[in-house]
Symmetry: C2
Subunit: 330 residues, 2 copies
């Protein structure tokens, strides 16, 4: 009986690999000591079939490749220092399509004050893009997944669910064989999915505010991110359903309110920051960036949602495509 | 008429991309300022069909992924600070095969005093591995491709051609449907291809010797590397054929002496350092590491080989699979 990778959950495979490499799965970036500061760096592989719906433009593919990596740097409170990209491209790709990918990378990096400094170009049967981002952060400002304490307030930047709504629109268009979403409002929704805005300034401002006790990005969805934060800090979370900042656009595609909440909690791709703040520092944090308080940290390791219907378990469902492993120096 | 990537040479595509990204194709690594030192970093994509013959073990696949990146760090005279890896793995891969890949990565990093600190695990139709290495080097020690001056001596570390000979053995075995080379001597030759030894200590020692005027690794073969060095420095090279340190093992597979020289010049994969040294500093360089003087720098931009048969042009043939773009800060 062969024992193949598909027999194991992603978490189990990552667990085995981290044991081999003797690293701990811990933060959005790996951390390297660098004198007075830490360097943080991260890498993410994206590829055509798994990560990009048919309606994605090449410019969006490039933008996304940079954005997902900058989001990891942002989640540590770090300043981006640059990116590299390794791109495997099918030889039959139109040259203008390939060029647009790199324009998208350039424009996303530039938007966040940094640059793609180089990389590797390869030919590949499937369009495959691996971005790598490097950041720097003062030692006492770095934000990690661990550090949440009971009674800390649970917060998120921005609004949630629009990327998931955009994915639904994109997949529906794809199912109809369309390569473009014609309705401008619906197309705007797919932009929320395909042109994520990593919270680079917000991450740095929150770090400088010295009010945050733990942080990560919510790329795999709020629910899964909360499970990660909870595990890293050895705590639980209580989320107040009515405080979840559901993006208004979600209601364009959600079947009902329950579905809208589901998209906000489980769909992923929003690339917001989810973090915890000492109750006495919440005003300082709120001055650093727009945030919503959506719950609090529990001493017990339980994960619950409170609503006027009562209390229920927060399900660990979400987007588990990307299996990250990263660590800090021993 | 569609204009596709395959219509263009790799160099032309890289030229277009570097123009979009506003970087210059220059060194083995991208360079980032970091206080008193430079950070250097590099990324390389490898994948199953293009880069690994059937006889490659998973451990060798992992080793290679780390080694090719460390070789780029070595070529700048830098100390490795760590690596990340993004791996896309077919779900039907045997779990033990996947684990061996990561053991190979770990062992190569460890051999050179560094570690794989994290990364990204993904599923992919074709096994695809992207390593990223970070290094650090004092500002006045960094070695670049530019800087060679007329009359400087042209040098290489190690011996050349064994990786090319190993590739020949590996492809012959593959052609016969074998997944292992039975003859131990021939198998040793495939190890030269599949377990390259990046010249990390040599690169640092050469940098500290302050005798080197330009350097790069020869991963694409000596001939192509010399063309790169020549272009970066605006010079030419004269190579003395009888001084090329052809690895003795090459003669196990070479048809004749001309074929042996061809493997040493054009086959690639040796991961030695090729560099130029001021004539008055050659003893200092030779104390830093084992080297062979194989020619000299010409003021004219010509590329020639001298032998007792006379003088001929050095052909720009070699392994062009990997298309690198990297840069220095503006």
């Amino acid at each position: 009986m062969r024992d193949i990778c598909a027999d194991h959950g992603e978490r189990e495979l990552v667990r085995r690999i981290t044991r081999i490499l003797e690293v701990e799965e811990k933060d959005d970036c790996a951390v390297v000591e660098d004198g007075e500061r830490y360097l943080v760096w991260t890498t993410d592989m994206l590829h055509r079939r798994a990560d990009f719906p048919a309606v994605a433009t090449p410019w969006q593919i490039g933008w996304m490749t940079v954005a997902v990596n900058l989001s990891d740097v942002a989640a540590m409170g770090a300043v981006p220092l640059g990116l590299l990209s390794a791109v495997g491209i099918p030889p039959e790709t139109e040259t203008s399509f390939a060029e647009e990918i790199f324009r998208g990378m350039r424009d996303c990096a530039s938007r966040y004050g940094t640059r793609v400094l180089g990389g590797d170009l390869d030919s590949h049967d499937e369009l495959t893009l691996v971005g790598t981002a490097l950041g720097g952060v003062e030692r006492d400002l770095i934000l990690r997944r661990r550090g949440a304490r009971p009674k800390d307030l649970l917060c998120t930047t921005g609004t949630l669910g629009s990327a998931g709504a955009g994915l639904r629109v994109a997949l529906e268009a794809e199912g109809k064989g369309m390569t473009k979403v014609e309705d401008p409002d619906l197309r705007a929704l797919t932009k929320r999915l395909l042109e994520p805005a990593p919270k680079v300034e917000e991450g740095q401002a929150l770090a400088l505010s010295r009010s945050v006790t733990s942080m990560m990005d919510n790329s795999d969805g709020l629910a899964l991110s909360l499970y990660e934060l909870a595990e890293a800090s050895g705590v639980g979370f209580s989320v107040q359903e009515e405080k979840i900042p559901i993006d208004p656009s979600v209601r364009m595609v959600a079947e009902d309110e329950g579905d809208a909440i589901d998209l906000a909690l489980h769909a992923g791709g929003d690339f917001e920051l989810v973090f915890t703040v000492s109750p006495d520092r919440i005003e300082v944090a709120a001055n650093a960036c727009n945030l919503s308080v959506i719950g609090e940290v529990l001493a017990e390791k339980e994960m619950v949602i409170e609503s006027d219907m009562g209390r229920r378990a927060l399900e660990p469902r979400g987007y588990q495509h990307m299996m990250k492993l990263s660590t800090t120096p021993p």
